[in-house]
């Protein structure tokens, strides 16, 4: 029997018993997200209004309980993992698209709305929601805001932060405020910009106003086949330096091509060294003109063959292939660890060679499928968790890849966030004073550091919350609940 603490009973009074779970069997699902870290929250709650969230935050404040917010749990850096236990607020019930303002091209949504659902709703009005992470059919917009999520089409349209106009947020102490609003520009400090990508450490976004874009009249998707990855990268550099910014440019390597073909024959040549996916969007005439230029450049680099997906259906198959590439890797190994790193576009060839080398040194296979146009690499380290010591080795390989990215003028994450996964590497990029500045800003939003504690900052930097966590650990799990 799970002896319910006073805290849990008070949570139940706010939400009703059905929307508070604390039995270990039920909590099992909330131990995971899309990353390799795991930890149990002490209690998970499912609010359905901002008022309830205000009450929850006040209670958590009163009982000094850490708070971790969760969308669909698709994050890849451990952002939704309750690594210090405590209260997990799952926002999946707050999934209403409150309004779509066609005249002003914006939408007001609750944080639990699935990314793709908003895009689909917008498309009925010839509008679109541009950020399209590969998990868009499952991930929530609130989660996208926490992580400043990206996606293939960020090359032309920018990441989530470029599409958020305003947010109603609830802070650590239960106070509620608006950051930004419905206007494109607003006065005062751009705190909405600081909040997006704060990985749940500043507050909970309870209402979100997003910018929608007009749908382009023409879309053309090219698939180019190359003998090696380096040539595909060269094509990407050439296209950009010729003054073309396609909507997306994605590269898939031979290992991944084979995995995809094994799952589902989409007609990719098995002996190809790499495949480059290029999407052009724009006005009639303009896209054709760009297409001619792209074809010319592909030939110049020595493309083996290319084809144009002219029909919508064909295009969708190509994108499904790209976005499903990770799933297909299951054919090659029982587990994979997806690394997210960034280098300047011109260093792509170098970093991929380095990734290869690191893999060879450790005797580990690495597949590559990535947002080439942004220099955002995604090496997938293939492994078998059951083999002893393998996970540790994989984490070592991931670290070496990130170090290599930074050494080439890049950084630790392009779209997955830091979370638990990469916090130890932050000193590679930021000085202690740089990190302290971030903590100063966090202190304003969350003075006790109780929102998503233990994320982003390396353990060596003392958290306000850390001592308390130690005390909690000594007292035994759930003892403070």
């Amino acid at each position: 029997m799970n002896r319910k603490s006073k805290f849990i009973r008070r949570l139940e009074r706010v939400l009703g018993e059905d929307y508070v779970i604390s039995h270990p069997d039920e909590l099992f699902v909330y131990e995971y997200d899309g990353s390799i870290d795991r930890a149990f929250p002490s209690v998970v709650v499912f609010p359905n209004s901002v008022e309830q969230i205000v009450d929850l935050m006040r209670l958590a404040n009163q009982y000094e309980v850490p708070v971790v917010t969760r969308g669909s749990g698709t994050g890849l850096s451990g952002g939704a993992i309750a690594s210090s236990g405590g209260l997990q607020i799952a926002l999946t019930r707050m999934n209403a698209i409150l309004s779509i303002d066609i005249a002003n091209k914006s939408a007001i949504v609750e944080p639990g709305v699935i990314n793709l659902k908003l895009d689909e709703a917008a498309r009925k009005h010839q509008l679109r929601y541009a950020p399209d992470p590969s998990s868009q059919s499952a991930c929530t917009l609130g989660g996208n805001i926490a992580e400043n999520a990206g996606g293939p089409h960020c090359l032309a349209y920018g990441t989530t932060t470029n599409h958020v106009l305003g947010m109603e947020v609830v802070l650590e102490n239960g106070s509620k405020t608006w950051l930004g609003g419905r206007l494109r520009e607003s006065k005062g400090y751009d705190l909405r910009g600081a909040f997006v990508g704060s990985e749940g450490t500043f507050g909970v976004a309870t209402k979100i106003i997003l910018r929608l874009l007009q749908s382009p009249p023409v879309t053309k998707t090219y698939l180019g086949v190359f003998s090696c990855v380096a040539l595909a990268c060269e094509a990407v550099s050439l296209i950009i330096s010729e003054g073309l910014i396609p909507a997306a440019m994605e590269i898939v390597d031979s290992l991944t091509i084979n995995a995809i073909q094994k799952t589902n024959d989409v007609g990719l040549p098995k002996d190809a060294g790499s495949v480059l996916l290029i999407e052009l969007e724009g006005r009639i005439g303009e896209v054709e003109e760009q297409g001619e230029k792209v074809e010319e450049l592909l030939k110049l680099v020595g493309v083996l063959e290319y084809r144009l997906a002219s029909e919508k259906l064909e295009r969708e198959v190509l994108w499904k292939t790209r976005k499903g590439a990770l799933g297909a890797l299951g054919n090659l190994a029982p587990n994979y660890y997806l690394v997210d790193g960034v280098v300047p576009r011109t260093r792509l060839v170098e970093i991929l060679e380095k990734v290869n080398l690191i893999g060879e040194e450790h005797g580990i296979k690495i597949a590559n499928v990535f947002h080439a146009g942004d220099g955002n690499i995604h090496p997938c380290i293939l492994f078998d968790e059951r083999k002893s010591g393998e996970l540790e080795r994989v984490i070592q390989v991931g670290g070496e890849i990130l170090e290599a990215c930074v050494a080439l003028g890049g950084t630790l994450s392009g779209e997955h966030g830091i979370g638990l996964e990469k916090k130890a590497y932050m000193p590679l990029v930021f000085s202690p004073r740089d990190l302290e500045l971030m903590l100063q800003v966090r202190k304003v939003f969350a003075p006790a550091g109780r929102l998503n504690p233990g994320k982003i900052f390396p353990d060596a930097i003392a958290y306000d919350y850390r001592q308390q966590r130690e005390a909690v650990r000594n007292a035994g799990p759930g003892s403070y609940l």
């Binding site: 960020c154 007009q214 003054g243 740089d434």
Partner: protein, 435 residues
Amino acid sequence: MDNSIFEIIKKNPNESHSAFLERTSNLNVDGMLPSILARPRTVDQIAEVLNFASENCLSVLPSGGGTKRSLGNIPNAVDILMDLSCLHGLVTHEPSDLTATFLAGTSLTDVQSILSGSNQFLPLESPIPSRATLGGILSVGMSGSNYLRYGLPRDWVLGVKVVNADSSIIKVGGQVVKNVTGYDLTKMYVGSLGTLGVIAECTFKLAPKPKERMTRLIYGFDNIDSAIQVMDNILEDYGLVRGLVLIDQEVESRLDIGVEGYAILVLIDGTKRTIRANCESLNAFVGHHKVKTVGDHYWQQMLNLGWIENGRPVMNILLRFLPSQLKDVLDMVNGIQLQEMKKGLIADPGIGKIRLFFWGELGAKRFHKIISTIAQISSTAEPSYEYLIEHCPVILKKTVDIWGQEPDALELMMDIKNELDPKKVLNPGRFVGGI
């Protein structure tokens, strides 16, 4: 005090009072003359100035080209004017990466001429670009006339090096086009009017320079409704124009455009082929109104209006609203009747803003009447409307908050200021809520 950085502002023994005023007129901030002029030439020297200021409890007003110095409430104190225009030049430019880093005192004109060799440009716009510096443009952080295609200044900044009020040097963001490593504090500095730190270096994402550009003037409207209809149609056509504004008779005559009534200026760019095709599409929307090609220079002249000395209005007010509110806001603005004064406007319906200009004698009574009419719009329209007075006579400025209504998150903003600049060294009193 290092004499190579600091200069005490005082009248020379043999100098007449009028000569002294003339010599120091470009250092004047809202009618106040700083005691010290600081000219740092390196990032470390910025830190030195801030350290000196902090130790002596002096205020510091960072300044680039001084082109928008009238923006902001009257400062609480003007002790040190920090002129950053000596800190200029390119740090790195990687044409194939479409990124570049510049020192903050680099003028926009210099930036564009450096980049144009690679057929690239930085999509920031500013009045008087030969003087306006990157640091200044980012501190103000306002959109130009190219929002439709290029968005806001915040969208182009990848990272900045900042000297904090405590004289520590920090970097936020990075050098790459996609980055979620740590908090995105770059955004916080853009548009903070120099109240959080001194931007010393900035890294940008760049854009390929369009091959050609063409400006078309649509005119001959009998009434405002038909102009709005034409604009709506143009804006609904995906990617047709890169910029679009509505101007009134007064602005037309100030710019010597030589047409009557409301007119629409649109900017089309791309290859020759694209421009030809887009012109055809545009003509279809013009209907029975007139259209002709005019010079590209009007775009810069419109940006300059309100900021250059020559023919400068006595007041500029910026209104922001939802694009769908354009008609309502125009009606209210046109309701402002002013004898012996001239009023002009430039409206940008794509982003939802109107810049209002007033010329002539502006007394206190008339000033408050205008402001109360403008403020009324915010109570009658809806919360998504705001105004700010960009420029007005100092004597009148003392009687209002130029930022209009306080933003919702003002308390958080004040906490940020207290945390990062507890001694209120940087630009004290100029920003929203007295920050």
